[in-house]
């Protein structure tokens, strides 16, 4: 049976994970940047992939998750120093929301997996026992649901 309170806890978990990235409390969010939202939205989001630059492609030839964002984003591909592969940077051409930045983070991460591994890691269905529907449990559900699009990337 749906429980609005527990659903709210799950929503809160996702929001909390995002907010923690911006906090500077001891033990939480210490890796985060203190950029204001406008500056943060303009930053290049960058992953390094261990493939030659010509494997990354450009435009419609980019890995599918990045190609799907089309002309909304600009992409910069440069060799990484020290034989570490290729730096793939992307950002939105126009102002972007937290939700859109989250989508870009997830796209960069899955693009990296496709380039390096050839497929995207799948996790479900996975074996588990009874998921007690507690507020703390649903809070964690929300955190996990948003974990692919959160982080400092």
């Amino acid at each position: 049976m749906p429980n609005p309170l527990l659903d709210r806890a799950a929503d809160l978990g996702g929001t909390l994970l995002g907010r923690l990235q911006g906090l500077r409390l001891p033990g939480v969010g210490t890796a985060s940047a203190k950029d204001d939202p406008v500056t943060a939205a303009r930053r290049w989001r960058v992953v390094t992939v261990l493939v030659p630059a010509d494997r990354v492609g450009s435009g419609e030839d980019l890995p599918a998750p990045l190609a799907a964002l089309g002309t909304l984003i600009e992409v910069r591909v440069t060799p990484a120093p020290g034989d570490k592969g290729t730096e793939v940077a992307a950002r939105y051409r126009a102002d972007s929301s937290e939700e859109e930045i989250g989508r870009l983070r997830a796209a960069l991460r899955t693009a990296k997996q496709l380039l390096e591994v050839g497929e995207v890691l799948r996790m479900d269905p996975r074996p588990h026992g009874e998921r007690a529907q507690t507020p703390a449990g649903r809070l964690l559900d929300g955190v996990v649901a948003d974990a692919k699009k959160e982080g400092v990337l």
């Binding site: 001891p26 210490t30 985060s32 997996q113 996790m123 074996p127 990337l153």
Partner: protein, 389 residues
Amino acid sequence: MKAVTWAGVNKLSVEDVPEPQILNDHDVILRVRRTTTCGSDLHLLSGYVPFMRAGDVIGHEFMGEVVEVGRGVREREVGDRVVVASFVSCGSCWYCRNEMYSLCDNSNPNPGITEGLWGQSVGGCIGYSHALGGYAGSHAEYVRVPFADVGSFVVPDGVSDDRALFASDAASTAFTGVDLGGVQPGDTVAVWGAGGVGQMAARLSAIVGAERVFVIDRLPERLEQARTYAGAETIDYTATDVAAELRELTGGRGPDVCIEAVGMEAHSPGPQGVYDQVKQQLRLQTDRPTAVREAVMACRKGGSIFTLGVFASMVDKFPLGALMNKGLTLRGAQVHGPRYIPRLLELMQRDELVTEHLATHVMPLSEAPRGYELFKEKQDGCVRAVFTP
């Protein structure tokens, strides 16, 4: 199938859960033959790693038989008897290519959690919370092993299940500390903690040529094992001043390499122990670093300290001044399993490394909650509880 699940803080359950499936081409499914408790599981059980969901299958140190292979698997086949690295590694990213397998870029599907905590995400680990990927664990009849060509290793004939099991994590974690901690022939090594990892670190230090090895703990049965199976000299920290004892035993120099195999729930007698307990319970620090502090103070000038025990986040009263002024190297890592498991299996095959004595309590999966109770409370001489699904 039967599986051991986390059901809340200090609560474990044995439940019927669905069997795992091949989800990626590089997966295999393993029928688990042996799976063991690890000290780091106790941090999950006690709620110090707050990313466990009721129903999560735990367990990350295991071996078994391959029963199904994904179509992209090249090196393994049905029927192989294998031991599996606890951390999941893709084998293709820069970290894996440079043998830093637990730092894999592609094996943690929840990077947002650990990026916030640590600035970077590390690799995923089987059965070790949603912060490290949310993989279903090995305390089950079957387990999915992703990237099986990278993280699973065929056990040579002549090496028993009971011996090979500990190559999965305890011995490979120990080898990570011995190797990256820089143990050299002729060195004096001190190991804090005489659990499975500590004992393996002591034995492997001797194998790579350390001249003297000291193991520090408080439990007589574990210290006895360290003497018998690792050839170590032992120090009971409840009976003496560890730093003074080490000074006396090392000509006033201190150990060349200090290996910490205790982790975030270190015990300590006296006011320092009380201080750390209170701060941790009030969540003013997440980890109790007693053994690391002691290692920093005891280590010889210019020596190195390696933290193998699991730490989650922040510690208090860390002797950074001693670290800097004594010119110490402090390093840590989760286990780089695939870097060391092949060599460990060779040592096991030659009987140079024995591990069976660690399995003080062998029991069916249905008795896992009792096994964890024995293990957590150190009752009945329990060093490791091993389950046979």
